[in-house]
């Protein structure tokens, strides 16, 4: 028996080096996790390089990459310039996500028009009934029920919240002063659901509810979503094209702290944002650094199809070029 055990152990020890190659470890945001896991799986099938990813949340990802326990971190909210410099990190956008505003109003189908002001008033708790004249003004011909507005928001820290509160801070000075933006905020009104699933669940089950979720959740669960008034005054549907229109006009600073909520442009959707990857500027392990750069090349070249199929929005080509140039310039390995 002991001999058999010894033989098995010896065999295993010989087997492992045969599969040894570079492996990368990453951790962070939950929002892009479905896309990243698909990409890493396809990449491993193609090249044999294994990339592990733990979706522990943006905060965890940032902390782990700072501590050096993972090779790259993922965050839905970008780090500010001084944080990046202090920790010697480099961040860049990977893919964009669109936030849809979903609602549950008996008798009202898809496409309720909500202006930015109304959105802010609803989330500040100021508009209390759906039949409020402010909402009726934008929706002539729609029979709005006289129900109380039940606001739903995220209870957990989330990149979706970050994008949504950026948007509200942009369109309402009141919101910016009272609440501000971040992955978790002190909501003036409403109830919290855990995860996109939680908010989608609340909205689906509760008549008169309004909430914000990633577009994928709205589409897959077939929950009606609103047309949101953009900066130019048009009511726009959340989609791939309207997100790309918004991103096209965004100002991209060198440290990639990009925010394109409430972007100008007649077809821009105002509630969308990027999700980012973070690496050290000086990657100590040369093999890992090389493997990482190759993966980014691959993802930028071949990852768009997967991204679109999962309802994420790939980066515009101009931005990809800028990122690759910056990576080559700033990150050494």
């Amino acid at each position: 028996m002991k001999k058999l055990l010894l033989m098995v152990v010896a065999l295993l020890m010989f087997a492992v080096p045969a599969f040894a190659g570079v492996a990368l470890n990453g951790a962070g945001a939950t929002f892009p996790y479905p896309l990243y896991s698909k990409w890493f799986y396809s990449y491993e099938k193609e090249t044999g390089v294994k990339i592990n990813y733990q979706s522990i949340g943006s905060g965890g990802g940032i902390a782990q990459v700072k501590a050096g326990t993972v090779d790259f971190g993922a965050s839905d909210a970008p780090l500010k310039g001084e944080d990046l410099r202090a920790a010697g990190l480099f961040q860049f956008p990977m893919v964009a996500g669109v936030v849809a505003v979903v609602y549950n109003l008996p008798g009202v189908a898809n496409g309720l028009k909500l202006s930015s002001q109304n959105m802010a008033s609803i989330y500040l708790g100021r508009i209390k009934k759906w039949s409020d004249p402010a909402i009726a003004k934008d929706n002539p011909g729609v029979k709005l029920p006289d129900m109380p507005v039940i606001v739903a928001h995220r209870s957990d820290g989330s990149g979706t919240t970050n994008i949504f509160t950026w948007y509200l801070s942009d369109v309402s000075a009141d919101w910016k002063a009272r609440v501000g933006s971040g992955t978790a905020v002190d909501w003036p009104a409403g109830i919290g659901g855990k995860g996109n699933e939680g908010v989608a669940g609340i909205v689906r089950q509760t008549r008169g509810a309004i909430g914000y979720v990633e577009l994928a959740y709205a589409k897959q669960n077939k929950i009606p979503y609103a047309m949101v008034g953009n900066r130019d005054g048009n009511f726009v549907n959340p989609s791939d094209d309207t997100c790309k229109a918004a991103a096209a006009n965004a100002f991209i600073p060198d440290d990639f702290y990009v925010k394109f909520t409430n972007s100008s442009g007649e077809n821009s959707y105002p509630i969308a944002g990027f999700t980012f990857l973070i690496v050290h500027k000086n990657i100590k392990d040369h093999a890992k650094g090389e493997a990482f750069m190759k993966f980014i090349d691959w993802a930028y070249k071949n990852g768009d199809k997967d991204a679109s199929s999962l309802d994420y929005v790939p980066l515009p080509d101009k931005l990809k070029k800028k990122v690759k140039a910056a990576l080559a310039r700033e990150v050494s390995y």
Binding site: D156, A184, D186, G193, Q205, T206
Partner: protein, 291 residues
């Protein structure tokens, strides 16, 4: 050595909780316990809504679960025919085996709509009582308490049942011989005799209710609010930890959450100590004076 290792782990847990919550302790001191705002953006934190939510839901759950559990225990020990005892006992224990998340999903998709559509509007008629004010949402303290009550019924009832089994037949027969009805035997002989065991099961149930996380998070509405109304949403310590810990950036945020964990730990210790004290006093009195 096993006992020593358990003590060591407990000591390590306490040490970690205390040391990692020191940033918020330095920032807020004991005012943290009375603070009502929880604002990660301006980094102002207060624990009161969570302490309230934890206690309120647990106490309500206990009030709902206790009569049902005692009823189940009494039924199984005194009244049920022998062929029924096994299956019902088994089904009750099965309730305990259902994962917390499944309870949460059931609460979110089945119980909350029923609450919103029928139970809460019915109770809203009594809105002169502070417990039934507000708009019936379905989600909130009431649904959370009901689900936690269902989850602690197996705990309380199975331990109570075991304790009631140990009541000697002589006691029961003595009561019957004195002319008591069956109900009087149960209420005046069996239950007082098993008092300390039942109290032990209540404490265990209460402890489980205090710490229940996933089921509560999904139905309680996750809003740091202090209100007596059962229709309002609330927030418990374990829910906020489950929700915010993964993405918490900012040292003060993380340490505020850890301090909440420390508070929950201290609450559990206080509850258990109170229970031990109560048991000790009860046994002291009843030692010479059975019935």
């Amino acid at each position: 050595m096993a006992a020593a290792s358990i003590l060591l782990v407990a000591a390590l847990v306490v040490y970690e909780l205390v040391s990692r919550s020191s940033p918020t302790f330095d920032a807020f001191g004991f005012a943290f316990l009375a603070g009502r705002r929880w604002d990660p953006v301006s980094e102002v934190y207060g624990a009161l809504p969570f302490i309230w939510g934890t206690f309120y839901t647990s106490v309500l759950a206990l009030l709902l679960a206790l009569p049902v559990s005692l009823g189940v225990a009494v039924f199984l020990t005194e009244l049920a025919p022998r062929w029924l005892k096994g299956p019902i006992g088994f089904l009750i224990e099965l309730l305990a085996a259902i994962p917390s998340l499944v309870y949460g999903l059931w609460g979110l998709f089945v119980l909350a709509p029923i609450m919103q559509a029928t139970v809460q509007p019915f109770l809203a008629k009594y809105d002169y009582l502070p417990f039934f004010t507000g708009y019936p949402l379905g989600l909130g303290i009431m649904t959370a308490s009901v689900i936690v009550a269902i989850m602690i019924i197996p705990t309380i009832s199975s331990i109570s049942r075991d304790v009631m089994y140990t009541v000697p037949e002589t006691q029961r027969e003595g009561g019957l011989a004195l002319g008591m009805t069956r109900w009087e035997v149960v209420s005046k002989v069996v239950i007082p005799y098993s008092r300390s065991g039942i109290l032990g099961s209540v404490i265990l149930g209460f402890g489980r209710a205090l710490g229940e996380t996933m089921a509560v998070t999904m139905v309680i509405g996750n809003t740091p609010k202090i209100s007596l109304s059962l229709f309002e949403p609330g927030y418990t310590i374990s829910s906020v930890l489950a929700n915010e810990f993964a993405e918490a950036v900012g040292k003060l945020h993380v340490s505020a959450l850890i301090e909440l964990g420390l508070i929950l730990f201290v609450i559990s210790i206080i509850m258990n100590s109170m229970a031990k004290l109560l048991l000790w006093r009860m046994n002291r009195y009843s030692a010479g004076t059975r019935l």
